[in-house]
């Protein structure tokens, strides 16, 4: 049985070699989740974006009905490790109009009619004022650090600073 030892060792070594390549994913990314509140109430359906200060890809996530969000980095969960500029933007007010019946096939006569429509009227005036103050989105000064390991970053927003 002692003669089998080198073989077993080699098998173990090869398995270790193979598993080395199975890490995948991004090495400078850590999972980030948390809750967004606006004046103490959970902010639903808002977009949270983390833009790295040192350059790189921003991560984003949408809050659910309880204000919980989870950031997505390209095709994985998380955000780049480091300092981020954080913005919170309402997206429900900018919903697109009803989708066109894109299922119309091009040999259907209605397809050509659909092409020549003017969608400008439909597109106009969709945007509403964002209930979240500009200091959290377009002029955000909010900075957060993402560290190694999992991060829970809760964002407590207030509409009028002092309030």
């Amino acid at each position: 049985m002692t003669s089998m030892r080198p073989v077993l060792l080699l098998a173990c070594a090869s398995a270790a070699f193979l598993l080395c390549g199975c890490g995948g994913g991004y090495d400078n990314v850590a999972p980030v989740s948390g809750t967004v509140t606006l004046d103490g109430n959970p902010a639903a359906n808002v977009m949270v974006t983390f833009t790295p200060e040192g350059g790189g890809v921003a991560s984003s996530g949408i809050t659910d009905s309880k204000g919980k969000y989870e950031l997505i980095y390209i095709d994985a969960k998380g955000a780049q490790i480091g300092r981020h500029r954080v913005a919170v933007t309402t997206i429900s007010g900018m919903k697109a109009p009803e989708a066109l019946p894109s299922e119309i096939r091009s040999d259907d006569p209605r397809y050509a009619e659909m092409m020549n429509q003017d969608y400008a009227a439909q597109s106009a005036a969709q945007s509403k004022a964002d209930p979240i103050p500009a200091k959290y989105n377009t002029q955000t000064e909010l900075m957060k650090d993402v560290v190694k390991g999992s991060n829970e970053i809760n964002l407590e927003l207030t509409t009028d600073g002092a309030k």
Binding site: V7, S60, I74, A96
Partner: protein
Amino acid sequence: MRTLLARRRFAFTLVELLVVIAIIGVLVALLLPAVQAAREAARRSQCSNNLKQFGLANHNYHDTYKKFTTNHQRRFEQNGDRMYSGIIGLLPFMEQGPLYDQMQSRARPAGPGLPDPWVRNAGGWTAWTVTIDSFICPSDVQISDIGESPCPVNYKFCVGDSVRWNHDDREDGRGIFDQMRWRSMADVTDGTSNTILMGEIAGGGAPNAVIGGVAVSVGHSSDRGQPALCLARIDPANPKLLTGAVRASFRPVTGRAWDGRPYFQALATAVRPNGPQCQEHSVDSWFQYGTLSSYHPGGGQVVLADGATRFIPATIDAGNPVNLSVETGAGFSTFGVWGALGTHQGSESVQVP
């Protein structure tokens, strides 16, 4: 004793054999994943070759006409106001002269007018329904339903970092290619080495996949594009899928080489590379967030206006996605290095990473 030794010299022991087999096993195990990666590397290389051909065709076109081609042009049609792709003009420079002549023989004003750019084999018209190998990136998955896809093409014209598509051609776009506008090399004041000419977009695959799918019914913010609206459609539970309304299965973005609408022809550098493709409505949207996307691991390929092909990593600085796009005229891009590479007159000082 002597005979025993002599006999031993010509045979391996069981342990020796097992060790040899194990070593071979380890080598194979190390090599096999590498072979799989080599296949994708070969496909990527071929894909970049095709892109280079498009770059050269654009340069030869520019040498001939002193202008680049346009993203879409009109006035060739037999019905209505149809848009035809700038790719048609590149055909003679890609060794597809006979196909070009066949199309020109039907095009107005000399001919009766071209059929709609999506028809397949209507009235004996077969020029649309061709497959040109150099139009297809071998890494893209095959289009499953080609009912409306006469000629697949993976390579798209860069229209800058703006996403608004105006039917009436009144505005100047921010990229080299634009509707009914023919720009020259001199117009590329950002430098031809810093401006994207064309890039690849993957179109095959599931309609609700981030790569290959399209999210429709994605809006805009006060008539300006906002990549966050598009990124908001990524499924939080599975970042490789889209939520909400998606494209019809028979309408991939790579399906119609001859249709000049942005859905089929345009690449905008607003949403980060390998991000989702998004449309305001469907094919005829006013807003289209079509970005670089591919099945190559980690990014996608572009050809710059100087003719060089480059791999753009998905991790490129694409700015804050809640920023609003600059829709017309010159000025800095709001989408970082990625946005700056798309503009031809943005005056940003950036280099391809």
